[in-house]
């Protein structure tokens, strides 16, 4: 049996969890075994509806009010307790900020091997996984030992795909034997981040040049970020830096202005759902990684974009040439 660890928001599985389910159901088919899922907190019961489109036969729900808030040790305790009871061959979760550490805790509790950030799984003997290293720029193939394999799936390694046929999902609620020490980490406040981040690089030209980016971020209800070249030049504070030695962001849209797209920068924004690039150089690496790229001068393009966005928001017709 394969056990998928599902993250959810009030019973709705997260996008990354749907990707994990897609990978897990393919794996279950290849291994000729069934797929079960585990989700944490009483509200998870509602996930059964969606899981029925991903070939899940049983949804195990860890039922304890204290589990509603994220607590890695407690969640891992619940998953490990369940695993000891249902004895899966593979436990598979997301490589999100939560999934990765929950699976790492579970692996340690069970003394079983773990492979993080997998993009491909070939079951059998040897059991082979392909996983990301160097922040996603290197793919490594490895053989895993152990009677139970613990895996996390790299974000967007595959697209979530619901199956047209639905399964009957049995629900098994269980109460893990949690201890007080599982709850030493306490969540106090949860704050949402801007869904749009406008990032500027050396191509913005100067500290003053960021005014156009501030304006666009303001219009879109977003925040401003920058590359390391910009913090090195003293144009913006380090707290704005996106990348390996800065902040990692996962907005719906990342607008990269005058940023070349160096790997250390991309590590910080590769989880963005969409990337829009504005750059003078059609050969810049960012252009090859953007969903949409405009080849042109940052300041000129942004001035026109800001005017256009203001018009659209005011409900006025576009003034651009047809």
């Amino acid at each position: 049996m394969i056990l998928a660890f599902i993250e959810h928001v009030a019973g709705a599985p997260t996008m990354l969890s749907l990707e994990v389910l897609t990978m897990a159901s393919r794996l279950a088919r290849k291994m000729g075994t069934q797929l079960e899922a585990v989700a944490i907190g009483p509200k998870a019961v509602a996930a059964a509806e969606i899981l029925s489109s991903y070939g899940v036969s049983t949804l195990h729900v860890a039922d304890d009010q204290r589990l509603d808030d994220y607590a890695a040790a407690a969640w891992a305790h619940a998953v490990a307790d369940l695993a000891a009871r249902v004895n899966p061959r593979v436990i598979i979760g997301t490589a999100s900020d939560r999934g990765g550490e929950v699976i790492a805790h579970v692996a340690t509790r069970m003394t079983m091997p773990m492979a993080a950030n997998c993009t491909e799984i070939v079951p059998g003997d040897p059991f082979t996984v392909t996983r990301q290293r160097w922040g996603g720029s290197l793919l490594e193939e490895a053989h895993l030992k152990g009677t139970i394999k613990l895996l996390t799936i790299a974000p967007h390694a595959l697209a979530a795909e619901a199956s047209p046929s639905r399964t009957q999902v049995a629900t098994d609620t269980f109460s893990p034997a949690l201890e007080d020490k599982d709850f030493r980490v306490r969540l106090k406040i949860s704050l949402a981040q801007a869904r749009v981040v406008v990032g500027g690089g050396r191509g913005v030209g100067s500290a003053e040049g960021f005014a156009a980016l501030e304006e666009l971020a303001g219009l879109l209800g977003g925040a401003v970020g920058c590359s390391r070249a910009v913090t090195s030049l003293g144009w913006r504070p380090h707290s704005d830096q996106v990348g390996q030695t800065g902040t990692r962001i996962a907005p719906d849209l990342y607008i990269a202005c005058g940023i070349s797209g160096a790997i250390q920068h991309m590590v910080g924004c590769r989880a963005a759902k969409h990337i829009l690039a504005i750059n003078t150089d059609p050969g810049a690496p960012i252009v090859a990684q953007a969903d949409f790229a405009v080849i042109g001068d940052v300041q000129k393009v942004l001035a026109a974009v800001n005017a256009e966005v203001r018009r659209v928001k005011a409900g006025e017709p576009s003034r651009s040439p047809a």
Partner: protein, 258 residues
Amino acid sequence: MNVLVCVKQIPDPNAPGKLDPQTKRLVREGVDLVLDPGDEHGVEAGLQLIEKDAGEVTVISMGPPKAVDAIRRALAMGANRGILITDPALENSDAISTARAIAAAIKGQTYDLIICGTESTDGSSGAMPAQLAELLGLPLLSFAKKLEVSQGKAVIDRQTDDGYDVVEAPLPAVVTVTGGINEARYPALRGIMQAKNKEVKQVGLSDLGLDGQAGKAALTQEVVDATPAEARKAGEVVEDKGEGAKRVADFLKALKVI
């Protein structure tokens, strides 16, 4: 306040190494090795804590004998002493072996805080700190982009995929820091000179009482191949000839951003 900072030595990311076609591992011979830039933030976070409060920062690293250079770099930044875990039998260790070795090396010592990077630049599994916390039975505060310690508690801003959470735990605790937490200091010449005289204790597998439980003897995974990954795919590219802004606005509309 006693702080332990876990640091890893990695091939210089400015000159990413080649893959050994035989072992499929990054060539670590003949390339520059550096203290993982992510771990510089861990060292910096530790130093800032003891500068505010009294105390000492110990750095620990597991790696080949050359990894002592990464420890020296942290000592040059201002850390007080180092521990190097090295043994040929520890080669090919995975994250759990590393966690076991570190847990064994600090047995009997008390630290208020153990600081790690969120994930290493080269291995990027991000698994070691959670495994260390689990082995030591300590709470884990991860993805910290801000860290404050007072009255026996650590409070962090935990970077999440959607924003951040304010999270707290009692000490002692394991904390992982992101690059956003601080700007790491550059070692001054004086620090570099002083680092030469600071103590670095070297321990091997048998000192740890881990024979057979870490490294080669406890291998749970074997690397068989490695290749560069494909980047994100390109979408539409338009040359701005005046209509660029309109096209951008259309794109923003399609994404329902405006």
